[in-house]
Symmetry: C2
């Protein structure tokens, strides 16, 4: 048996779960859930907890200009690009304990296993906690990973302001001062990892329904966000016959029927969500002058997103019940397909004959979507109950999380040598 | 020719229009429109303007406990119940000059004609301005007429509070003091009129499209207001497949399709309006947990309203996309059908052979809906441009208004003898 083989089996499940429980106490809410908003006191406390684990394992701990924290286990050949494993420690305001944190802790468990077994891998291993993935305090999210991957500018990231008027840049300065005061190495520039792996809770119901502890994520859906405005004419609800109306609600209702029909022609992989909808003047006995709504449209294939984009524009160019439609693209993120070679490593790590390993496309964004621009990247999912996340009701089964972590460690072993 | 014949022809059109222009200066907005909120300074000034016209015509001017003002032209037989003609002087915050005011001024023009021609009708004539028809400052509206008709309690009316915290009762006290200071007769109790006539702008597009100056209103639609809540489950827009969603927006959309289909089976007379619609949590990438919307449903037939009410309840009892629906009736006003005998008087007054007189059902409420409970009541409509009202763009043609006023005077002549 080589050093890198069966790393998953050798992983200490008890120790892993101790870490999960220890970290979940930082920012814990009553009666359950956590709150660790990016760069707040609890989020920084979680960083320091991670630093402490790394230091006590003999790692070098680095931090960079965005407050991303890296625990480095040196390899036999320090000149090789490190394998990077991680996720984020920040949370939504009322969240569960495992969204993000689990991916950092699974990386830490992998690192612990190597240290416990006295294995020095050929290639360095780094465990990372990315800053502000959630975007709940400072929008948009994935600040740390997008900057690291060269996808977003430092100068624009630090200008974000939270609801209390605090600048991202100021909160970041405090965080960097704290990390500096703990004597950690400041490593200002990003680097190119050998590969990036991220384990995350699924935030969807698929693995649970399949009774599987782990799934290989083959990519991340692309997403288009639309803002659609329908302009009609306000009028008296009692006196205006149907034929004389330019009812913005009625027009929006018919337009949405057509948009939905076009979307659902694309099959079950498509996600079409209208999450915001408002009327003006919003009065019970006044015909709506204006309807405004959003569409969140997701699909793994850029071709599908582009063809639907054209179809949506065609529909918006028509008049609906005498009303004009204005369609604006508020955001557009291309889908990511993870490389087959790395997916194969994950499949082999999950099942010796690669059989019976569910393959999923991530519907949510993750730090991995940015890392995919700089190095081979892939993800594992583990189920969460009823697909619930961003809520204190988020729940994982210990056995599932441990199994998935063993698969991650197994894959890491293969990639480190 | 009897005294009461051709009263319409004898009406002084110039004088009528002078009144229209004089009254429209009270509360005039720049560059156009008026603002006379119920019981505010301008509304009271309009009352006093009307009082002055009555006094100078030799009328007795009364006011009652709600600030309704009555100009009384005594009849040959003062013991007969008076014919009552009128409407309201208050307006929406940014309104046109003719909604309500025209009906009072047309009554005044009728009274002027009798005085000018030296005619003492057999039966007394009273011109009324009802307090707070609009309900814009103090909700609900039609305070004066609903109290007069015994449809609403004084004690509940005076408790209404405006957006500045002023009680209806306090504003009313000031108004009554002002009227008392002008030496007018306080007549505390309502009485039973011989009949009530109200001329009003149509606030709809029908007469304009028919190129008609006047239409006979055969009744007022009934209205049901519904508040409908659809309860689903918030979830991640990217990760939740369609089959696993309980999307409150999607459910509301499909429910509304069914509600609309049921409603429009009832034909063109039906008015179905969704004027309010909101989602919670109203976030672009979160599946809606709750959708809330209103329906304003109107029809001249109580049977149709009742059968649709049953149908709506049936639809609300079903599950839609796994969501539960809660339907609440927020308000219910039965339709009013004006008596055929009075409609016949109006038709004959509009056209000697009753031919070619459009007949309409009012989609809006008017003071007449309450008076119909105590005496024979009917209405005339005159067109307003593009059906626009409750807006400074409200506009009437002088010729139309004058023609309609002559029809009202003609009808009054027939009813006074």
């Amino acid at each position: 048996m080589n050093d890198w083989q069966r790393l998953g089996q050798r992983l200490d499940g008890e120790r892993f779960w101790d870490d999960v429980e220890a970290l979940s106490k930082i920012g814990a809410l009553e009666p359950k859930g956590i709150c660790r908003l990016a760069l707040d006191e609890k989020d920084n406390q979680a960083r320091l907890w991670l630093v402490e684990q790394g230091t006590s394992l003999g790692c070098t701990v680095h931090y960079d200009a965005l407050g991303n924290v890296f625990l480095r286990l040196e390899g036999q050949d320090p000149s090789l690009a490190p394998l990077l494993i991680g996720s984020h420690l920040d949370s939504q305001p009322r969240a569960g304990a495992h969204d993000g944190a689990l991916g950092v802790l699974a990386g830490l468990a992998t690192l612990r296993t190597l240290v416990d077994e006295g294995i020095t891998p050929r290639r360095p291993l780094e465990i990372v906690a990315w800053t502000n993935e959630e975007g709940a305090r400072f929008a948009p999210g994935a600040s740390g990973s997008s900057w690291f991957a060269g996808q977003r500018e430092y100068t624009s990231i630090v200008e974000a302001v939270d609801s209390h008027g605090t600048r991202f840049g100021d909160a970041l300065k405090d965080c960097l001062a704290l990390l500096g005061a703990h004597g950690l190495d400041f490593r200002p520039d990003p680097f190119v990892p050998h590969a990036f792996l991220e384990l995350h809770i699924e935030q969807g119901p698929i693995l649970e329904s399949l009774h599987k502890s782990v799934g290989v994520v083959s990519g991340i859906q692309g997403v288009n966000w639309y803002e659609i405005t329908v302009e009609g004419q306000a009028n008296h609800a009692g006196t205006t016959p149907r034929g004389a109306r330019r009812d913005a609600f009625d027009a929006a209702h018919e337009l949405i029927t057509a948009l939905k029909a076009a979307a659902y022609e694309q099959g079950d992989e498509l996600r079409f969500t209208i999450g915001k909808f408002s009327l003006w003047p919003d009065s019970v006995n006044t015909i709506a002058q204006r309807a405004t709504f959003t569409i969140d449209l997701r699909h793994p294939s850029q071709n599908v997103l582009e063809s639907l984009d054209m179809r949506f524009r065609e529909l918006a160019e028509r008049q609906w019940r005498g009303c004009d439609v204005h369609l604006k693209v508020a955001s557009r993120v291309a889908p990511v397909k993870f490389p087959e070679s790395l997916l194969e490593v994950l499949r082999q790590s999950a099942s010796s004959d690669c059989s019976d390993v569910p393959e999923l496309v991530s519907g949510a964004f993750h730090d991995a979507i940015h890392l995919a621009h700089v190095c081979p990247t892939a993800m594992l999912f583990t189920p969460c109950r009823a697909g619930i996340s961003h809520h204190p009701d988020e729940h994982i089964e210990r056995d599932d999380a441990e199994s998935a972590t063993r698969v991650l460690a197994e894959a890491a072993g293969r990639l480190l040598n």
